[in-house]
C-alpha cells in the first residue's frame, strides 16, 4: 500500500487529470506487449508533462520509498513495464515534443514521449533519417526505445538504438538532474554514461531528454527475395553476400513454418515447399545500390536460390508484405504467441535454425522462425495457448532450451527486446557470478533504495 498522502502530492504536481487511481484505469497499465507474463496493477498512474514534474515525482518516490516504473507506450517484449512491485507507474507519452533538429550537427533533441515514426516524419523533408526501426516504430516512444535499446530490421547495416544516442538528460534516483554526452561526435569525457543508460530499462534513472544522431537518408534502394530448398544454401548465401563486401540494410529470413503460415494467411504467392526465404534490401547511392544488387543476385544464384528482384516501388512493397505478415500470420494461428529474440553470431544461423527445429520436434510445438538473419537476431515464435497448462510447461522447457543453445553457439539472450522479467532467470548463464555482481553493483550505486523499476534485469 502506498502511504496515504502520496496521491495528493502527485495531484498537486501534475493536476487531477494526470493521476489515475481507480482499479478500472489501473487495469490498463498492468501489462505490456509480452506474452505469458502475469498482470500486476500499479497503485497509481501519473502522467507528467515536463521534466520539472518528473523530477518532483522522483523525489516523492524517494521520500516515500515507493516503487517507480517509467513507461512509454508499453509495447516492449520483456515484461519490462509490468509493475511487479506495484507502486507508481509514470507515463511519459505527454512529453512528446521534438525540441530541435540541428541540420549542421545532424542531431535531433527530443522529449522521451516522441513516437519514433513522428521523428522520422518530421525530418524526412530534410532527407534525414533516424535509422533504428523496431517493429513498433509507429507506436513506441523514443524514451522507451532508448531505455530498451531497441533494434529492428536495419540493424545489420545501421546498428541499433545505442549507436544513435549521443546525449541524455536523466533524473537520478535521488531526484538530481544529470546531463551526459552531447552533440559532439567525439566525447571521451569520463565514463560513457550515455551507453550505460541506453538499454537500462528504467532501472537506473528517468530519461527526460534525448539527443540522437541523424544520417542522410539513402538516395536509392533495391529489394530482392530469394527462395531456397535447403537451409544450408540459405545460410551460405547470407555468408556469401557479406563476404562479397555487401552489407545490406536488411537481410531477413523466414523458415518453412513461417512461409507456410504467411502464405496461408496473406496469399502472397510464397513457395510453400521452400525451406527458407531471404528478403534482402540494399540501399545507398544509386550506382552502388545497382552494383550491390547484382552481387546479391549472383551470390543467391550461386547458392541455388531462385531470385525475384523488385523493379518498382509496388513490387518492393509486395515483397515486404510477406515479411510484414510474418508475425501477424503466426499470431493468428493460436491464442498465445511466445516470441523470443535469442541472437547468435551470423555464422551460426544454420546451427541455430537446426537446433530450433529439433526443439520444436522434441516438445511437439509449432515454432515458426523468422528474423534478422544478417545480424543473427532470430525470432523463434512458439504458437501456443496460455490457458493450456500442460502445453505451457512444454513451452517453458522449449524456451529454456532455446536460450541454452543460443549461448552455447556464442550468442546472447536478447538481441533487441531486453531482459525485463521474461529472461531474468537466464541472466547468470550469460553473465556468470562476477558479471551479475557487477550489474548489481551498478544498480545499487545509482538506485540505492531499489525504487526504479524494481525487480527488472537484476534482483537486488
Amino acid at each position: 500500500m502506498l502511504p496515504g498522502n502520496i496521491v495528493n502530492e502527485l495531484v498537486q504536481i501534475v493536476g487531477k487529470e494526470n493521476v489515475l487511481t481507480e482499479q478500472e484505469e489501473l487495469a490498463a497499465y498492468a501489462f505490456d506487449a509480452t506474452a505469458d507474463i502475469p498482470k500486476v496493477l500499479p497503485e497509481v498512474v501519473v502522467t507528467p508533462c515536463n521534466a520539472e514534474q518528473v523530477q518532483q515525482i522522483v523525489k516523492i518516490a524517494d521520500k516515500y520509498e515507493a516503487p517507480l516504473l517509467t513507461r512509454g507506450s508499453g509495447t516492449n517484449l520483456s515484461g519490462g513495464t509490468v509493475p511487479i512491485k506495484k507502486g507508481i507507474v509514470m507515463v511519459m507519452v505527454k512529453m512528446n515534443k521534438i525540441i530541435e533538429v540541428d541540420y549542421n550537427n545532424l542531431t535531433a533533441t527530443v522529449q522521451p514521449g516522441v513516437i519514433i515514426q513522428d521523428l522520422n516524419d518530421a525530418i524526412a523533408q530534410y532527407d534525414l533519417l533516424y535509422p533504428p526501426d523496431p517493429g513498433t516504430v509507429a507506436t513506441a516512444t523514443m524514451g522507451g526505445s532508448v531505455a530498451e535499446c531497441s533494434g529492428g530490421l536495419r540493424g545489420l547495416k545501421y546498428g541499433v538504438t545505442k549507436d544513435y544516442v549521443m546525449g541524455l538528460e536523466v533524473i537520478l534516483a535521488n531526484g538530481k538532474v544529470m546531463r551526459c554526452g552531447g552533440k559532439t561526435v567525439k566525447n571521451v569525457t569520463a565514463y560513457d554514461m550515455v551507453k550505460l543508460f541506453v538499454g537500462s530499462e528504467g532501472t537506473l534513472g528517468v530519461i527526460t531528454e534525448i539527443i540522437v544522431k541523424l544520417i542522410p537518408a539513402p538516395e536509392a534502394r533495391k529489394s530482392a527475395m530469394a527462395t531456397f530448398k535447403s537451409i544450408d544454401d540459405a545460410a551460405s548465401a547470407i555468408m556469401g553476400i557479406i563476404s562479397n563486401k555487401v552489407i545490406p540494410a536488411t537481410l531477413e529470413i523466414m523458415d518453412n513454418v513461417t512461409i507456410k503460415t504467411v502464405e496461408n494467411y496473406a496469399h502472397v504467392g510464397l513457395p510453400t515447399d521452400a525451406e527458407a526465404i531471404l528478403l534482402i534490401e540494399v540501399d545507398g547511392i544509386p550506382e552502388v545500390v545497382e552494383k550491390e544488387a547484382q552481387a546479391v543476385a549472383r551470390v543467391c544464384q550461386e547458392n541455388n536460390g531462385s531470385l525475384k528482384i523488385a523493379e518498382t516501388e509496388q513490387e518492393r512493397d509486395d515483397l515486404w508484405e510477406a515479411r510484414r505478415a510474418a508475425l501477424p500470420a503466426l499470431a493468428q494461428v493460436s491464442p498465445t504467441t511466445v516470441l523470443e529474440d535469442a541472437t547468435v553470431p551470423r555464422s551460426k544461423i544454420p546451427d541455430m535454425l537446426k537446433a530450433l527445429r529439433g526443439i520444436a520436434n522434441k516438445y511437439q510445438l509449432p515454432i515458426g522462425t523468422f528474423g534478422h538473419a544478417g545480424d543473427g537476431n532470430l525470432h523463434p515464435t512458439i504458437l501456443t495457448d496460455e490457458t493450456n497448462k500442460e502445453e505451457m510447461e512444454r513451452v517453458h522447457k522449449a524456451v529454456d532450451e532455446i536460450f541454452e543453445v543460443a549461448l552455447k553457439l556464442g550468442g546472447t539472450l536478447s538481441g533487441e527486446h531486453g531482459i525485463g522479467i521474461a529472461k531474468q532467470k537466464y541472466l547468470e548463464k550469460e553473465f556468470g557470478e562476477a558479471g551479475i555482481e557487477a550489474l548489481e553493483a551498478v544498480k545499487k550505486a545509482l538506485d540505492p533504495k531499489n525504487l526504479l523499476n524494481p525487480g527488472k534485469i537484476v534482483n537486488v
Binding site: 484505469e25 490498463a28 498482470k39 507506450s73 507519452v93 513498433t136
Partner: protein
C-alpha cells in the same frame, strides 16, 4: 446466441489480442488523451478483467467504454485481426444489461422503439425548434439558444420543416425502369438534409431506376445499438426488415455510413439466433447498397455530361470505409462528373470525431478530433467538401464554421444530381437555341 447478448460470446475475440499496442498509432481518442484505457488494447484487457470477474460493472467502467468513436481504425490496423469495436459494443451491451441506460438515453431510445411516436415527436420538434435554436449569420446553420443537449458553441443544421418522407411521394417512377429499389432514407436525410434525400431519388431516376420510399420506415437503430441497448436495436431491426420485405425490391439504397452498416452487417449480427428474421436480414443484406456502390458496381452509372468546375475533396465515413469497405465507389461517382477535380486530403478515412451522440456527450474531445480532420481537409484547398454520411457532414460543417471557413459540405449524391441537372439545363438550352 447472438454476438452481443452475452459478454462471454466475445471471449474468443478478446483472446486474439496479443497486446502489441498497434492500435495506439491510429486511435483518434488515444492521440488526444494518451491514456491506455482510451485505446483498444486497454479496453480489451479491461473487458477481459471484467469477464474473468476481477473488475465490476461500475460507473467508471461505463465512462471508459463510452470513450470510443467506433471508427474501427484499430480493427483495420490490428495485426491479429481483432475486432475491438465488437468487444467494446459487447461490453457496452453488458453494461446496459447490468446498469441500465442513463435517464435521457432511456427516454430517447424508448421513443425510438415506437416508430409512430418518434415520427410525431420529430414533427413537433421541427415546428418548435426555433425556440431552442438561433440562426447563425447568413448561413443555414443554427446554434443552441437554450441548454437542449447541444453545446452552445456548436453549429448544427436545423430540422427541416417537413421530413423527406412527407415531402416526397412514395413512388418515384421512370418511363423505362432498369430496376426498382427501395430508398432507406435514415434520419439525417429524412429530417435534416432533405435536399440530399431528393438528390438520391433524382440520381437513381436519372439512371432509370424506380425509387420507392416506404413511408413507414424508421431510424436504422444504430444509435441505440452503439449505446449498447441491444433489445431496442433488435426491435427496430425487425420493424425495418418487415417494412422492406413487404414488397420485392431489386435493392435497398442508403446514403449514410451508419445506415448501410445496419443493413449490411448489424441487423444480421443482432438477429443471428432469430431463425425467421435472421434469414431475412441476411437476404436483405445482400442487396443493400450505398447509392454510389449501386451505381458503380451494380447498374453502371450513366455518366453525366454537365460540367461542374469544382475542386473537391472527399471524407470517408468510418462505418462506410471500414465498416462496409466502400471507398472507391463514391470517388468513382465524383470522377465521373466532367470538370470536377478530386484532390485527396491527408488521411481521408480518419474519423471526423462525430460518432453520433459521442459528440453531444464529449463535445470538447470530439472537436479536437474534428479539428485535425478540418486541417487536413483545408490543406487540400477544396472549394467543396464531399462525404456520404449526414453525421459526418454535420460535424464537418461545424468544424469548417469554427475554423472560419465558408467551404460548403455536400453529399456525393448531391453533386451528381447537380451535374445531371446542369446537363438537362444544357440540353434545354440547345433545344431552345
Amino acid at each position: 446466441m447472438a454476438k452481443y447478448d452475452n459478454l462471454g460470446n466475445i471471449k474468443a475475440e478478446i483472446t486474439k489480442c496479443m497486446k502489441c499496442g498497434n492500435c495506439q498509432a491510429v486511435c483518434p481518442i488515444y492521440k488526444e488523451l494518451f491514456g491506455e484505457s482510451g485505446v483498444a488494447r486497454g479496453k480489451i484487457q479491461i473487458a477481459k478483467e471484467l469477464l474473468e470477474g476481477r473488475l465490476e460493472y461500475t460507473d467508471k467502467l461505463k465512462e471508459i467504454f463510452e470513450l470510443c468513436l467506433t471508427c474501427k481504425a484499430c480493427a483495420a490496423n490490428c495485426p491479429c485481426g481483432v475486432k475491438p469495436d465488437e468487444i467494446i459494443l459487447a461490453t457496452r451491451a453488458a453494461l446496459v444489461r447490468k446498469k441500465g441506460l442513463p435517464a435521457l438515453k432511456r427516454y430517447i431510445f424508448g421513443a425510438l422503439s415506437k416508430p409512430k411516436r418518434f415520427r410525431m415527436g420529430m414533427g413537433m420538434a421541427a415546428k418548435f425548434q426555433a425556440f431552442g435554436l438561433k440562426k447563425v449569420d447568413k448561413k443555414e446553420l443554427v446554434k443552441a439558444r437554450l441548454p437542449i443537449g447541444i453545446d452552445k458553441r456548436r453549429v448544427v443544421r436545423p430540422l427541416a420543416n417537413k421530413s423527406l418522407l412527407t415531402q416526397m411521394p412514395e413512388n418515384n417512377r421512370v418511363v423505362q425502369p432498369r430496376a426498382k429499389v427501395a430508398f432507406f432514407t435514415g434520419c439525417m436525410l429524412n429530417y435534416i438534409y432533405t435536399d440530399a434525400g431528393h438528390a438520391v431519388v433524382q440520381v437513381l431516376n436519372a439512371n432509370d431506376v424506380d425509387v420507392i420510399l416506404p413511408k413507414k420506415q424508421h431510424c436504422c437503430g444504430i444509435p441505440v445499438f452503439i449505446n449498447g441497448d441491444m433489445e431496442t436495436a433488435k426491435e427496430i431491426a425487425r420493424y425495418n426488415i418487415d417494412i422492406f420485405s413487404a414488397e420485392k425490391y431489386d435493392a435497398i439504397i442508403t446514403h449514410c455510413g451508419t445506415c448501410i452498416g445496419a443493413w449490411a452487417h448489424h441487423y444480421q449480427e443482432l438477429l443471428a439466433d432469430d431463425p425467421e428474421y435472421g434469414t431475412k436480414a441476411k437476404e436483405l443484406a445482400e442487396k443493400s447498397f450505398d447509392v454510389s456502390q449501386y451505381l458503380i458496381d451494380h447498374i453502371g452509372i450513366k455518366e453525366p455530361v454537365g460540367e461542374m468546375n469544382y475542386r473537391v475533396t472527399y471524407h470517408d465515413p468510418c462505418h462506410m470505409v471500414r465498416g462496409v469497405g466502400i471507398s472507391d465507389q463514391p470517388r468513382q461517382v465524383v470522377k465521373s462528373i466532367p470538370g470536377i477535380e478530386l484532390v485527396e486530403m491527408k488521411k481521408p478515412d480518419r474519423c471526423c470525431g462525430m460518432a453520433g451522440s459521442f459528440s453531444l456527450s464529449h463535445y470538447n474531445l470530439s472537436s479536437r478530433i474534428r479539428d485535425k480532420k478540418i486541417d487536413d481537409a483545408l490543406a487540400a484547398k477544396p472549394e467543396l467538401v464531399l462525404t456520404s454520411c449526414g453525421a459526418c457532414r454535420m460535424q464537418l460543417e461545424d468544424g469548417l464554421y469554427q475554423a472560419g471557413s465558408d467551404i460548403p459540405v455536400k453529399y456525393v449524391a448531391e453533386i451528381l444530381a447537380e451535374a445531371y441537372s446542369s446537363e438537362r439545363g444544357a440540353a434545354i438550352e440547345r433545344e431552345i437555341g
